[in-house]
């Protein structure tokens, strides 16, 4: 019994230390934080994956639990697979794009580091969205600007963390970092474009095969 209690306490301590104090430390002391993240191995893969899953859950909860004043969509319009795809797809595409661009620019980060960095950036977004969700149920129409402020704060902090993370992990200067971000966006667009092309071609090949099948079965040839 005591063992179980100990394990639970240990788990909560881990969660508190890793998922709250460390990301908060990264926001407040960015350069030092990212350095500890990368060099002293304080970034953990399990935490990164947990952040991704929590971000997906928060996105889905926003549909249902946001107050009516900010969210007048009906729950039947929510596509949970879409929400998963948006979050996971965005992270994977940005990771791959960033990694492929930094190999050109002599970046020092590897794929694992970049992925974990992006997932840690989700922390302010998640926190501000949860606060925003609670606020949207309490505020009236005139005060809804506070909700907008909280959500924007989450997004701004996320972008800020991402920016400093790129500088720190790849050990770039400011100009190189901006260039990298620009090229990352271009690379992400290329990946998306190629993906759409692939899907279209797959559809056409499938359609072609299906038409042949229909011709064979429907015609009285044999």
């Amino acid at each position: 019994m005591k063992k179980v209690w100990n394990k639970i306490a240990q788990f909560f301590k881990f969660v508190h230390e890793e998922m709250f104090r460390f990301p908060k430390y990264i926001i407040i002391h960015p350069l030092k934080g990212w350095e500890e993240f990368k060099r002293y191995g304080k970034g953990k893969m399990s935490v990164a994956l947990a952040f991704v899953i929590i971000a997906i859950i928060v996105n889905i909860m926003k549909f249902q639990y946001s107050g009516f004043i900010v969210n007048d969509t009906s729950i039947k319009d929510m596509n949970s697979f879409g929400e998963i795809a948006y979050v996971v797809g965005a992270i994977v595409i940005i990771t791959v794009a960033n990694w492929s661009v930094t190999t050109l620019f002599d970046g020092k980060g590897n794929m694992k580091n970049i992925f974990m960095m992006i997932c840690y950036c989700l922390f302010p977004y998640i926190l501000c969205n949860i606060i925003g969700m609670i606020l949207s149920n309490i505020l009236t129409t005139d005060e809804i600007a506070i909700y907008n402020l909280v959500i924007s704060l989450g997004v701004v902090l996320m972008v800020y963390m991402f920016f400093v993370g790129i500088i720190s992990i790849h050990e770039y200067g400011l100009g190189q970092c901006l260039l990298t971000i620009l090229f990352t966006i271009i690379a992400a667009l290329i990946i998306i474009f190629v993906g759409i092309l692939l899907f279209d071609l797959f559809q056409k090949v499938y359609g072609f095969g299906y038409q042949i099948y229909q011709e064979i079965t429907l015609r009285d040839m044999f």
């Binding site: 009516f68 004043i69 007048d72 969509t73 309490i138 009236t140 129409t141 005139d142």
Partner: protein
């Protein structure tokens, strides 16, 4: 195990059969709060066979071969309804237009084939411009025979007089209409002398006739023309008037075919005033920047008015309701949100657009042709008619549907449909309200179709009327309960639970009764964030007022208690005070 499967299977089959039976043809549709198309109830249906020429009392089918306009007039004294039906005749076959006057049972009372006028009442310029059946009245004619007058003193000839003097020598001359396209009657009461005039758009004669209703002579069988409005000389337009409206001051508003500058406004004496109703092009920042570099000639050639082709008008309460086609730039549609306008006397568009979607006929449509013979593109609104409580109906000739909106711009119901069956519309030329029914003049089938409101539409109409008169909830007047809008909206919900606008009406009732929790519930069902916000504000205020005292007392008690506790703890530990305030973190 097998029994369970059979039970489940039969249940599913029963459900499927229910589903297939329930989806019958003839279901109406409407647009929900997001603009998506959902199934709904039709508002107006056809219950009696449409009136063809014989039902109206016209003796020959050739007299009703090209119907162009229908107008319902409520008599200024007796309040009876008089209908004016205009048949355009044919310009190519030289058949004059005929005006039929019907009673409210749609039976022809009088048939007017021509009008008369006294040339002495008109000035020379007008006399030279008047046309009859397509020919100018004064022009050279071949024969030099003497022109006879008939027994009533009306000249036998109507056009082709040699000269003005010859024309003026007669007391009364006939005038035949040529493809007349609109009729309107207006009783002007706001200044003496009171006038009761009939206005007729004589399209292919390029003139608008103003006929005095009080000059009806049963010997002649017609009325006398008091004024003729011909092509305004200031404007370089080919004046082919197609629709007309007269306001309470006697100003005449005319829609002329092929004129894109707007509705032409003439003053009561016949002179051209201005154009009304068009929108000005809005300049984007790029346009303003580029204008700095344009030369004078380039700026002069630029078109500052969006070319709008107006199609129909109605007049109610000093406001002109006008419909127009969507504004196109070549083949692409640039502005389809302003197809219905409510123009106030100063010329500004004041239509209320407070519904879920903007009043424009079909909100969603395919922009290109998908199949052969498919109707595509935005709705082409042809006519508009308004009833006593501000609700108006427009007819769309693209897909032949009727859209009814209320005073605030909410889409009430969609009715009608395309087709060649008797209850479908194929080429609508005029729509008019006759009481609660809607008359549609169909030029293709040459009938008058009577649309009557369905059960749910009757209740919706009553609810909209109550909202227009400001009665959101039941009131007790003189000891009697006068039902308000919420009572009817609740009946609408019973008939169609998906009618989202009704929930807002019910919510307003609860808001009036200060029951904010229920009001919030109904506003959420009606997807109205504006009213929900108002109800929520009051609700939150109420809760705060209720719980402010106890919550504050507990909070203050907690704070006081905590500070006392800390003091006691400090005192108890006493010496270890310094160790407690130890070295902090780095």
């Amino acid at each position: 195990m097998k029994k369970r499967y059979i039970k489940i299977l039969s249940f599913i089959l029963a459900l499927l059969s229910f589903w297939t039976v329930a989806s019958v043809d003839g279901l109406g549709y409407t647009y929900d709060h997001k603009g998506n198309v959902i199934y709904s109830t039709e508002g107006l249906t056809v219950n009696q066979t449409p009136y063809i020429y014989s039902d109206l009392g016209i003796d020959s089918v050739s007299k009703f071969s090209n119907p162009t306009d229908l107008f319902v007039y409520t008599h200024h004294e007796t309040d009876e309804k008089i209908l004016y039906l205009l048949d355009g005749g044919s310009q190519s076959k030289k058949v004059a237009s005929t005006l039929f006057i019907l009673n409210d049972q749609l039976q022809v009372q009088q048939e007017i084939t021509h009008f008369v006028y006294n040339p002495a009442n008109f000035d020379d310029e007008t006399l030279l411009a008047i046309k009859s059946l397509g020919q100018k009245v004064v022009s050279s004619r071949e024969s030099t025979d003497e022109i006879k007058t008939d027994t009533n003193g009306v000249c036998e000839l109507d056009s082709g007089f040699n000269s003005l003097e010859e024309l003026k020598s007669f007391d009364l001359v006939k005038l035949y209409l040529n493809e007349a396209s609109a009729v309107y009657r207006s009783y002007k009461r706001n200044s003496l002398p009171y006038t009761d005039y009939l206005y007729i758009c004589d399209k292919e004669n390029n003139q608008v006739l103003v006929v005095d209703y009080e000059t009806y002579d049963s010997n002649l069988g017609t009325f006398e023309i008091v004024q003729i409005i011909t092509t305004p000389k200031e404007e370089n337009v080919k004046f082919r008037p197609s629709k007309t409206i007269v306001d309470a001051a006697g100003r005449i508003y005319v829609i002329a075919s092929d004129v894109g500058d707007g509705i032409m406004e003439f003053s009561a004496d016949g002179s051209f005033n201005r154009y009304v109703g068009t929108n000005y092009t809005s300049l984007s920042a790029w346009d303003i920047f580029w204008r700095n570099f344009s030369t004078e000639e380039q700026l002069a050639g630029e078109n500052l008015i969006l070319q709008t082709s107006f199609t129909g008008m109605a007049y109610k309460n000093n406001m002109i309701y006008a419909t127009s086609y969507a504004i196109r730039n070549g083949n692409t549609v640039t502005d389809d949100k302003n197809m219905i306008k409510k123009i106030n006397p100063s010329g500004k568009d004041v239509l209320r657009r407070n519904g879920y979607t903007v009043p424009m006929g079909d909100y969603k449509y395919s922009r290109t042709r998908i199949k052969e013979d498919d109707a595509y593109g935005p709705s082409n609104l042809e006519c508009i008619t308004v009833n006593e409580y501000g609700a108006y109906t427009v007819v769309d000739s693209t897909r032949d549907r009727l859209f009814t909106y209320d005073n605030e711009g909410n889409l009430l119901y969609i009715s009608g449909g395309t087709g060649t069956q008797v209850d479908k519309i194929s080429s609508p030329k005029a729509i008019q309200y006759l009481g609660e029914n809607l008359l549609v003049l169909d030029a293709d089938k040459k009938v008058i179709i009577i649309f009557e409101p369905t059960d749910i539409a009757k209740v919706i109409n009553k609810a909209v009327q109550c909202e227009y008169e400001g009665r959101a909830d039941d009131e007790i007047i003189n000891g009697e309960v006068v039902r308000g809008a919420a009572y009817y909206w609740e009946q609408v919900i019973e008939l169609n639970a998906n009618y989202e606008y009704a929930y807002i009406g019910i919510g307003k009732k609860y808001m009036n009764n200060k029951d904010y929790k229920n009001a919030m519930y109904y506003f959420e069902l009606g997807f109205d964030t504006n009213y929900y916000g108002k109800a929520y504000k009051q609700y939150r205020d109420g809760i705060i007022k209720q719980y402010f005292a106890p919550v504050m007392i507990t909070v203050i008690a907690l704070i006081v208690g905590l500070s006392i506790y800390k003091r006691i703890r400090k005192k108890k530990l006493g010496i270890k005070d310094e160790e407690m305030t130890g070295i902090g973190d780095e």
